[in-house]
Symmetry: C2
DNA sequence: ATAGGTGTTATAATAAAAATTACAACTAAT
DNA sequence: ATTAGTTGTAATTTTTATTATAACACCTAT
C-alpha cells in the first residue's frame, strides 16, 4: 500500500474497540488485527482522541468510544485522521506567467470544492454503527467477534 | 506518495487545446503552461486519445477535441487518466487470521462503493464547458487566452 | 520498585507519482 | 530524398506522502 489507508485503519480500530470491549485492547493487540505496528495504531488513536471520538488514559489499555456508534460518522473519522485534506488535488505548479494555466486551476477549484462537499455530505451519512451492522451481516450472527477473554 | 494531479493536468491540457486552437499546440508549448515536461504531457494526451476525448496525429502538432466541450465530463477525463482507481482506499493488509479485520474491511468496501458512486455522479455533471465558463468568469471577457499566433 | 502500558518524536523504508531520457516513427517543407 | 521538428512510448530516475520502526519519557497497577 502507499495510498493513505488511515481512514480505513481508523474505522478498523474503532470497530475493534466497539466489538471487543472486553478483550485485550492494547495497541499491540489492535496492531495485530490491522497488521501494522503498535506505534502507528497509537498515532491514529491519538488523532481520534484529539477529535473526541475515543477516550484513553496513558499507561492503561482501556480505550473506549467517546460517543455512541451511531453518533460517529465516517466524516468525523475522516476529519480526525486526514484533517481537511481534499480527495482531489489541483496542480499548483502551473506556470504563473501563463494566464490559462493559473486560471484554469482556479476555475477547477470551484468545481472540486463542490465535489468535495458532496463527498463529505455522503460521508456524514454513514456512521460507525452502519459499518458494524454491515460487518454483522457479512459474518452472520457472531462471526469471529469474540476475543479470548470475551467467552462467558 | 505524491498526490496525483493527472486529472487537473488533463483538464488543463484539454482547456488549453480548446482555448488556444490556433496557437502553438506542441507538447512543448502545453508543457510550459502546465509547467511540466513534454513527455508527461504526451503521456496524458495518449490516455485522452485512447478514451476518445481528443484526436491527434503523430508528428503533427494539431491536437483537437474529439467531442464538443459540453460532451466531455470530468468523469470522462477522470476515467481516461485514472482508470477505475477509487478515491478511498481499503487497507488490504489486515491480518487474515483476524475475522474482525478482514470483515470490517469488506463491510467498509460497500460504503466506499456508495461514496464512489456519488462522486462519479457528481463528476459526470461537470463538463469541460462548465470549467471553461468558470475560467472566463475569472479572467473577464478575454483574460489571457490569446496565444502569439491568435492575434487577428 | 517493577512490569507493562501509552503518548510522542524522530528517523528509515516503501511505494505511487512526476520528471527525465531516449529513440523509433511520422509529417511537412525544401 | 533529406532534413528539421514532432509524436508515441518505454525505461529509468527523482520526488514525496505514507507507513514502518525505534526510542524513550511518563503513567498505571501490582
Amino acid at each position: 500500500m502507499k495510498y493513505s489507508t488511515k481512514l480505513s485503519d481508523a474505522v478498523h480500530i474503532l470497530s475493534f474497540i466497539a466489538l471487543k470491549k472486553d478483550s485485550d485492547l492494547t495497541s499491540q493487540a489492535i496492531a495485530e488485527s490491522v497488521k501494522t505496528n503498535p506505534a502507528f495504531v497509537r498515532q491514529i488513536m491519538s488523532k481520534l482522541k484529539k477529535s473526541g471520538l475515543i477516550t484513553t488514559v496513558r499507561g492503561h489499555a482501556r480505550p473506549s468510544l467517546a460517543r455512541a456508534e451511531d453518533e460517529i460518522s465516517l466524516l468525523d473519522i475522516y476529519r480526525a485522521v486526514e484533517g481537511d485534506k481534499p480527495l482531489l488535488h489541483l496542480d499548483t505548479h502551473t506556470n504563473p506567467e501563463c494566464g490559462v494555466g493559473v486560471n484554469i486551476q482556479y476555475a477547477l477549484q470551484d468545481h472540486y470544492d463542490k465535489i468535495q462537499q458532496s463527498i463529505e455530505k455522503e460521508m456524514s451519512q454513514v456512521t460507525l454503527k452502519d459499518i458494524i451492522d454491515s460487518f454483522h451481516k457479512k459474518t452472520g450472527s457472531d462471526g469471529d467477534i469474540r476475543g479470548p477473554k470475551a467467552s462467558v
